[in-house]
Amino acid sequence: MLSILNKSIKNKLIFSTLFIVVIATVLVAIGIYFTVLTDLQKSMGQRLQHIASTGSLLIEGKTHHDIYKQYVKQVPKEEIEKSKSFLDVQKTLRNIKNINNLEQDIYTVVLPKWLKKDKKMLFMAMSNHKPYIGNGLERSEIASQVLNTKTAQYSEIYEDSEGQWISALAPIFTVTKKGKKRVVALLEVDYDVTEEVHAVQMNLLKKSLLWSTVGILFSLFIIYFVSNALSSPIIELTGHTRKAIDGNWAEDLKIQRADEIGILADSMRSMVSEIVISRNQLEDYAHNLEQKVKERTKELNDTNTKLTCILDSLGQGLFLINSDYNIDSLYAKVTDSFLAKPLNAMQIKDFYIEEFDIDRTFKVLFNELIPFEDGISLLPTNIRKKNDDMFLDISYKPIVTNDGIDKILVIITDKTYEVLSEKKLKQKEIETNRLLSIFGSQRELKSFIEDAKERVLDAKELIKKEVIDLSLIKGHAHTIKGGASWFYEEPIIQMTTKIEDLCLSLQANKDSMPQDINIDENLDNYFSTLENNFEDFIKFTSSTLGYDVEGDDIITLKEKDLFSIVKSFGQKREDELFNILLCEDAGELLKTLNNPLKDISKRLNKDLNEITIKSDGSRIYRKLYSEFFDVIVHYVRNIAVHGIEDEDIRLKRNKDKYCGVVFSVKKVNDRLFFSFKDDGNGIDPLVISKKCEELGVDMSGKTDHEIIQGIFTKKVSTSDNKNEWSGLGVGMDVIKSTVDSLGGSVEIFSNFEKGTELIVEMPYLKYKDVNNVTT
């Protein structure tokens, strides 16, 4: 039943309506029952009341009181019952009963004051044939009312063990001497209404059944229409929802109404369409996800395959460093073949030879405090190899998870073969270079041999002396070594290095040197060997060049010939050969500026420190830069004329007495940088600014640095006193335009009273540029 109730709204409607109909019918029936019962009670009660009140008048109060008086005097009951007054009363009672066709006996009662306490009445007489006097009846409510009102009353229907009753009571009076009525007893008439009540009940039951059947049928009829009107759209909605839940989204909901159900249907429709959209998106996403997972799985499989391949390869050692900075126990066993001892017997600090701060370095790597690729350069490069002939390459790869770097993969690759091949190649290159040096620097070769021979002789003389000047001998060896390096003459380089080392250790251990070691002999032997090396070198170079390098004059090759040598070696090495044969150290070219500077300074009585030349060894072909060197000499002159202050001014400015001048050259990424720096007077931006404005140039809002660039403007000169050495018509503007034409730029940095630096930047020109120039 409950399950049915739970299932359908229609059923619920039917059952609740039926319930209401039944309850209503029952309530109506009960109402009617009580109305009928009240009617019965009233008609029967009034009749009984009438009988009682008329009957009571027939009984003489005095006679009745006489019975009572006998009873009070405790006359035996049998005697009272035989007394005339008792018999009179009994006879009257019987007459009343008979006249009124009463079925039940009627009787009189008294309510003596002394009996009030236990609320009992006293039976006096009865219409039956058996006399009765004495205690018995409960005093009823109605009896009290009759006593109080002194009029007849009837009761409501009441029930006792014998049936249902209605009673009526009426007072029996005596008249006092004063003529006042006094109630001496009550006459009671009872009527058994059990049958009548039963008949009413049966009648009502029959009618109620009929009514409820009609009611139920009628309500079923109503319910059918109401519930159809109400529940069918709900049922449709429910069905639709159920279908939607089962995945049938396509079906359209057809309910079109203006009431709550219509609103519900609308909501349902929009909800379903939203769900359909979301579901489609979800399906798409799931589909893509699946695809992605497939792809990623494939990637992972590929990676795993790759890793397995790598692990299987014999050439590479592989192991992992864990995030606790320890070596992972799982590694490619081939790794052990590269290392001094098995990896599983090593800790990270044993793997490397150099000591380093393991924790701090790996923290940088694992936490990527700087990019991983840069971080690995903090790791030592020397590891404990199995043997020294092996050349190993170590590379590091991060193993990255979502949380960052989880492990570091260390890959050890045997590069011995590659390195040896490279070495051989290098050796060949050195041979070529050696020949080229000999060819290209014959003048230097000649002077080197002369100088070296002299130095060897001098050293041999020094060794013979009592006190040996070790530092002088070492100096000779060092100078010879320098020259030999230029010609890649390995035996001489090695021997001179030995001599240098010996001198150094002798100097360092002067006091602790054992007496039995013969220093002279050792050194003498070394120099004799060196002499032999020189003989070999001279023979080799003479045969290479085709003339006696010691005796004959140099056969100088013309530039044209040198160019043809460059060409003959092919395009691959043309730049290199050009560099060796035709270029010279740019520093050497800067040195040519020394003389004009010194010369003018001297004439102006301005003192200079030694001019410092700094070069990174970049070699340039002079002719390509000849225009530049032609004009830069004017700037150098300017340094002397304008830049260097008089001695007293320099001292006042807390400067060194002599002016310091530094010329430097450096090559950076195919650009050549020349710097001409002095710690002289500097340039006064006010003067430049004034001059520029005189020439009509707007200088407002410019910084000092921007202002002094004005020096490159035509007709701006820093000195008002033109003299014979400067102001020759070639100014800074010419330097700028010359450099510009070479594809370069100039910039001047200056602090007034502190110094000036001119920076010239130009392209680094190569062999092809010569071709461009000549063609």
């Binding site: 380093f356 701060d357 701090r360 370095t361 940088v364 405090l369 700087i370 990019p371 690729e373 840069d374 903090l378 430097s664 450096k666 950076v668 990424n669 650009r671 940088f673 710097s675 910039e747 940095f749 630096e757 920076i759 930047e761």
Partner: protein, 131 residues
């Protein structure tokens, strides 16, 4: 990649090197470059430009400089809430790894062992991640 729009403060005491570096930065495509000759000069530039539209967005500093060196500048920059997130590249001739570690631990974005050639700077800037 370090965005090309960044305004870079180049701190270098050697004017000739500064010219070279400015040139290289220019070749790399960075055309907003401010310069300073030491740490103090750099700090003043940082503060001076902070209130303007020409705010410094990256620092490339030499380590060894007179008056205030690159490391002191780094510490000062990292201690200041206005500048602590600026990318800071340290140019160093130091190959001593302990010093480099010290710089990294103090928050440099990367270090550059001199000479800082076009290729080296390109490589280091390429690895910069904009957060």
């Amino acid at each position: 990649m370090l965005p090309l729009s960044y305004r870079i403060l180049l701190v270098e005491d050697f004017l000739s090197l500064m010219t070279v570096q400015t040139g290289i930065l220019g070749d790399l495509g960075y055309d907003k470059i401010e310069t300073a000759v030491n740490g103090i000069d750099a700090w003043n530039k940082l503060e001076e430009l902070f209130e303007t539209n020409n705010k410094i967005e990256c620092i490339v500093s030499d380590w060894n400089m007179p008056e205030m060196d690159g490391f002191e500048l780094l510490k000062k920059v990292k201690a200041d809430s206005r500048f602590k997130d600026l990318p800071f590249y340290m140019l160093t001739s130091e190959t001593d790894k302990k010093d480099i570690l010290r710089a990294i631990e103090n928050g440099v974005t990367n270090y550059i062992v001199k000479p800082a050639t076009f290729e080296v700077l390109q490589e280091k800037f390429k690895r910069f991640k904009v957060e």
